[in-house]
C-alpha cells in the first residue's frame, strides 16, 4: 500500500502516524521544527492525572523514531501538492541542519562550545540557547542543528568551533536544502496551534512588566527542565513568587482585540497550573480570574473541586481591568470587579499568568495554498461538516485532527488522530 503523509509532529500527528504504522501502512511524518513533540513536549504536567507531560509523550516519540514504518522528516515543510485521493504528489522542502543525522550522537559537546547565544524559542524566550543546538533534552531525533541566521560561520565566515570539537565528525556546513517528492495516498493535517500574543492588550502590561507571563512561559518556568529548574522565581528579581494571579480569556471571548470564541482548555490548564503552584508552595496565594468556568471534560469538575477544597485555589468571577506595577516594590497589582459580590478591588501579585487563546498558526495559510483547502475566518482549517464529518475536509484524501481545526484538548486531539488514521486506512485499502 502507498504511504500516508502526516503533516505535523505534535501529539496528534504522532498518534495518527503510530496508528497507521502499527497496522503496516508507511508514514511520512513531516515536521517543521528540528524535533517532533509539538506543544505537549513543552508542558510541565498534564491534567487531571498530573503526569509529567514529556514523560508520557517521549515513549511515543521514540516509538515513532524506531518504527520501521515511519520516516520522520524534521525541519521540513510541504511546499506543493498535486494529484488527488489515492495519488498525491507532495513536494517537501527540508531545511539543512548542517549536521549529518547519521553521524550525530546527540552528545551535546558542540552546544557547550558554541560561542553564540540566541533566544531559545522552545523555552519561550526565558533562557538562551546556542547557534548550534539540540531543541530540548528529549528531542527526537536527538540531533544538533545549526541556526544559520545566527551562526558566526554562516554569517561572517569565522569560528567553526563545533566542527573542531565534534567527536563524531558530524558537522557538515555544506549541507543544502533538500527537495523530496513523495507520493502518498492521503494526507493528515495535524499542524496544531499557537498562543495569542497579548502584547496588544496593553492594560495587562505584557512585554512591559517582566512578571506578567503567558501560560506557555509559565509552563516553562515551573518545569524542572526550564530556566530555573522548576522554581517559581520571578523573572524580574529572581525572588520566589508567593502570590499568583491567573487571568482567563486573554484574547478570547472578546469583540475587541482578540477573538470571540472560547479557547476550550484554558480554565482547566489554569487550574492545573494553580495546583502545581500549590504543590510547590502550599502557602502560596493563587487566584484564578474567570468569566465562565469551563469544566465540561471527563473528570474536570472533580479536578476543580479538588483544587478549591484540597489545595485552596481561589476563583473570582471577573475579568481584570488592569494590571499595574509598583516601581518601588516591583509588585504587581491586579484591579478587578468580583461580579458575584459586586466589589471592585485589587489583588497584590508577585506573578501574573495570562491564559491566552489558542490561535491558528500562520503556516496554515501557506499550507492551504499548497493543498487547496479552506480556512475559516480565524485561520483554522475547515472540516467537511462540523457535525457529521469532523475529521474529513472538502478534499477527499485530506483529513484533519487536533488543534489544526480549532481549540481542543489532548484527549480529543488523540482520539481525532485515530479517527483521521481510520479514514486514511480506509482510503489506502480502497486504492491499494
Amino acid at each position: 500500500m502507498k504511504p500516508v503523509m502526516v503533516i505535523g509532529g505534535g501529539v496528534a500527528g504522532i498518534q495518527a502516524a503510530l496508528d497507521l504504522a502499527d497496522r503496516g501502512i508507511s508514514v511520512h511524518l513531516v515536521e517543521k521544527d528540528p524535533s517532533i513533540g509539538g506543544v505537549m513536549a513543552q508542558l510541565d504536567k498534564t491534567l487531571p492525572t498530573m503526569d509529567c507531560s514529556i514523560c508520557i509523550l517521549a515513549p511515543k516519540m521514540i516509538e515513532c523514531f524506531r518504527h520501521p514504518n515511519i520516516t520522520i522528516h524534521t525541519q521540513s515543510r510541504v511546499k506543493d501538492v498535486s494529484g488527488g485521493a489515492g495519488d498525491f504528489n507532495v513536494k517537501v522542502l527540508k531545511e539543512p541542519r548542517s549536521v549529518d543525522e547519521a553521524k550525530c550522537t546527540g552528545c551535546g559537546l558542540c552546544t557547550q562550545k558554541c560561542p553564540t547565544k540566541v533566544r531559545n524559542e522552545w523555552q519561550e524566550g526565558l533562557m538562551d540557547r546556542k547557534a548550534i543546538y539540540i531543541m530540548f533534552p528529549q528531542a527526537v531525533p536527538l540531533t544538533a542543528t545549526i541556526d544559520r541566521d545566527h551562526c558566526l560561520y554562516f554569517q561572517n565566515g569565522v569560528c567553526q568551533l563545533c566542527s573542531k570539537v565534534c567527536p563524531a565528525g558530524a558537522i557538515d556546513y555544506e549541507q543544502k536544502p533538500e527537495e523530496l517528492n513523495l507520493n502518498v495516498s492521503s494526507i493528515i493535517v495535524a499542524t496544531g496551534f499557537q498562543e495569542y500574543d497579548p502584547t496588544e492588550l496593553k492594560e495587562y502590561g505584557y512585554g512591559r512588566f517582566k512578571d506578567v507571563l503567558t501560560a506557555m512561559e509559565f509552563e516553562r518556568l515551573v518545569c524542572a527542565s526550564g530556566p530555573t529548574g522548576g522554581h517559581l522565581n520571578r523573572p524580574s528579581d529572581g525572588k520566589l513568587a508567593h502570590r499568583v494571579a491567573f487571568v482567563q480569556c486573554v484574547g478570547s471571548r472578546t469583540h475587541k482585540k482578540g477573538y470571540p470564541y472560547c479557547s476550550s482548555v484554558c480554565c482547566m490548564y489554569a487550574t492545573k497550573e494553580a495546583v502545581l503552584i500549590k504543590e510547590h508552595d502550599p502557602a502560596a496565594e493563587v487566584t484564578i480570574f474567570y468569566i465562565d468556568l469551563k469544566v465540561f471534560g471527563k473528570g474536570f469538575q472533580q479536578f476543580v473541586d479538588r483544587a478549591k477544597s484540597h489545595y485552596g485555589v481561589s476563583y473570582i468571577r471577573g475579568r481584570p481591568g488592569e494590571i499595574r506595577l509598583n516601581p518601588l516594590t516591583g509588585g504587581l497589582t491586579v484591579w478587578y470587579e468580583d461580579t458575584v459580590t459586586g466589589d471592585v478591588s485589587s489583588m497584590e501579585a508577585d506573578l501574573v499568568v495570562l491564559c491566552t487563546t489558542m490561535i491558528a498558526r500562520p503556516g496554515n495559510k501557506e499550507l492551504t495554498r499548497a493543498l487547496g483547502l479552506e480556512l475559516d475566518e480565524w485561520g483554522f482549517f475547515k472540516p467537511l461538516n462540523p457535525l457529521s464529518n469532523p475529521v474529513e475536509t472538502g478534499l477527499p484524501g485530506v483529513f484533519l485532527c487536533g488543534c489544526s481545526h480549532g481549540p481542543r484538548d489532548i484527549p480529543e486531539s488523540v482520539a481525532e488522530a485515530s479517527g483521521a488514521a481510520a479514514c486514511a486506512a480506509e482510503l489506502a485499502r480502497r486504492f491499494a
Binding site: 496593553k202 512591559r208 518601588l328
Partner: protein, 292 residues
C-alpha cells in the same frame, strides 16, 4: 514651524503661567506662534453636554479661523484638543451638519473645509521639534530631579481619533521630561484622571481622587508633578490646599508645574518670564535648585 495659537478659556481666565511659559519657550525651539483674532471657547466640556450643535459650531468656528489664517492649530489644553478632533470627525461623517454649520459661519465670512491639522502641544514638542533638539538647547539641566509625568486623560482617552499618545502606555511627556535632564519613571497611577470633570457633580470625590494621586506620586519619591493640561494643573496646583484639607493631610505638599515652565527653566529663561509666581503649589525650592 508656525502655528495659530489657540489659548482656550481656562488659560486666558486664570492659567497665565501656562500662557507665559508657552510664549517664552516655543520660539526658542523654532516655533512661531500667531495669535488668533476672534477665537472663542471650544465648547468643551460644558456646552458639549447640552448642545451638540452649539459645541460643534464653536469648535468649527475656531478651526475655520485658523484655516483662514492658513495655519495649523496649536491648542494648549487637552480638552480643547479633543474637542477639535472630535468635531472634525463628526463634520467629516455628517455632511448635513457640516453644511448647517458652514451656513452659520458664512455670516462671518468663515468657512470650514477640514483642511486644518490640530496639533497638541505634546505632539508639537515631541514629534515635530523632537527631544534631541531640546536636549541640545538645554543649558540648565534638571539634574537629580525626579519628575512625575501626568499626561492627562484627554491626551490619551477616550476616543480612538487621533490620539496624542498611547492610551495604556503614554511615553511622550516622559521623553520630554528626560530631555530636560530630569529623571522619570512609570508609576501605577500615571494615567489616572485628575478628577476635575467631577467638580460640579461631587466636589469631595474630586478632591479625593486628585489627593490619592498626589499621595501616590509623593510615595514614589518624585520631587514634582508635570502636566500639559490647564484643567489638570488647576486641580493639582490651584486646589492643592483644598485637597490637603479634604484628606486631612498637611504633609501633602507637591510642586506642580506646566511642562513649558520646566522647559523654560532648563533653556535658561528667568523664572519671571515663566509665570512661576502664579503657581500655588510649593515650587520655589525646585526653581532654586534648577536656577542656581
Amino acid at each position: 514651524m508656525k502655528y495659530a495659537l489657540y489659548l482656550g478659556c481656562t488659560v486666558q481666565s486664570d492659567q497665565f503661567g501656562y500662557e507665559a511659559s508657552v510664549r517664552e519657550t516655543l520660539p526658542k525651539l523654532g516655533i512661531e506662534l500667531v495669535d488668533m483674532r476672534g477665537a472663542s471657547c471650544c465648547g468643551f466640556p460644558a456646552l458639549s453636554s447640552v448642545s451638540k450643535m452649539g459645541w460643534h459650531y464653536l469648535s468649527a468656528r475656531n478651526l475655520a479661523i485658523a484655516e483662514k489664517m492658513g495655519l495649523d492649530l496649536l491648542p494648549l489644553c487637552n480638552g480643547c484638543h479633543l474637542s477639535f478632533v472630535e468635531t472634525m470627525h463628526f463634520l467629516e461623517e455628517d455632511p448635513e451638519l457640516r453644511s448647517i454649520i458652514n451656513g452659520h459661519l458664512e455670516r462671518e465670512g468663515l468657512r470650514y473645509e477640514g483642511r486644518v491639522k490640530v496639533v497638541h502641544l505634546l505632539e508639537a514638542l515631541h514629534d515635530r521639534v523632537g527631544a534631541e533638539v531640546i536636549v541640545d538647547k538645554v543649558v540648565k539641566p534638571l539634574k537629580n530631579l525626579k519628575i512625575a509625568s501626568h499626561p492627562g486623560c484627554h491626551a490619551i482617552r477616550p476616543s480612538d481619533l487621533q490620539k496624542v499618545d498611547d492610551p495604556e502606555d503614554p511615553q511622550k511627556l516622559d521623553n520630554l521630561i528626560k530631555a530636560l535632564g530630569a529623571e522619570t519613571f512609570d508609576y501605577p497611577e500615571k494615567i489616572d484622571c485628575c478628577g476635575s470633570q467631577l467638580a460640579v457633580a461631587s466636589g469631595r470625590t474630586t478632591l479625593k481622587i486628585a489627593g490619592d494621586k498626589l499621595k501616590a506620586v509623593k510615595s514614589y519619591g518624585f520631587d514634582a508633578l508635570v502636566t500639559t493640561c490647564p484643567f489638570c494643573f488647576k486641580m493639582y496646583d490651584g486646589r492643592q490646599r483644598a485637597i490637603k484639607g479634604a484628606l486631612k493631610d498637611n504633609s501633602l505638599d507637591l510642586p506642580v508645574f506646566y511642562y513649558t515652565q520646566l522647559l523654560g527653566l532648563a533653556l535658561g529663561s528667568s523664572p519671571d518670564r515663566l509665570g512661576l509666581r502664579m503657581n500655588m503649589s510649593p515650587v520655589d525650592s525646585i526653581v532654586e535648585r534648577i536656577t542656581e
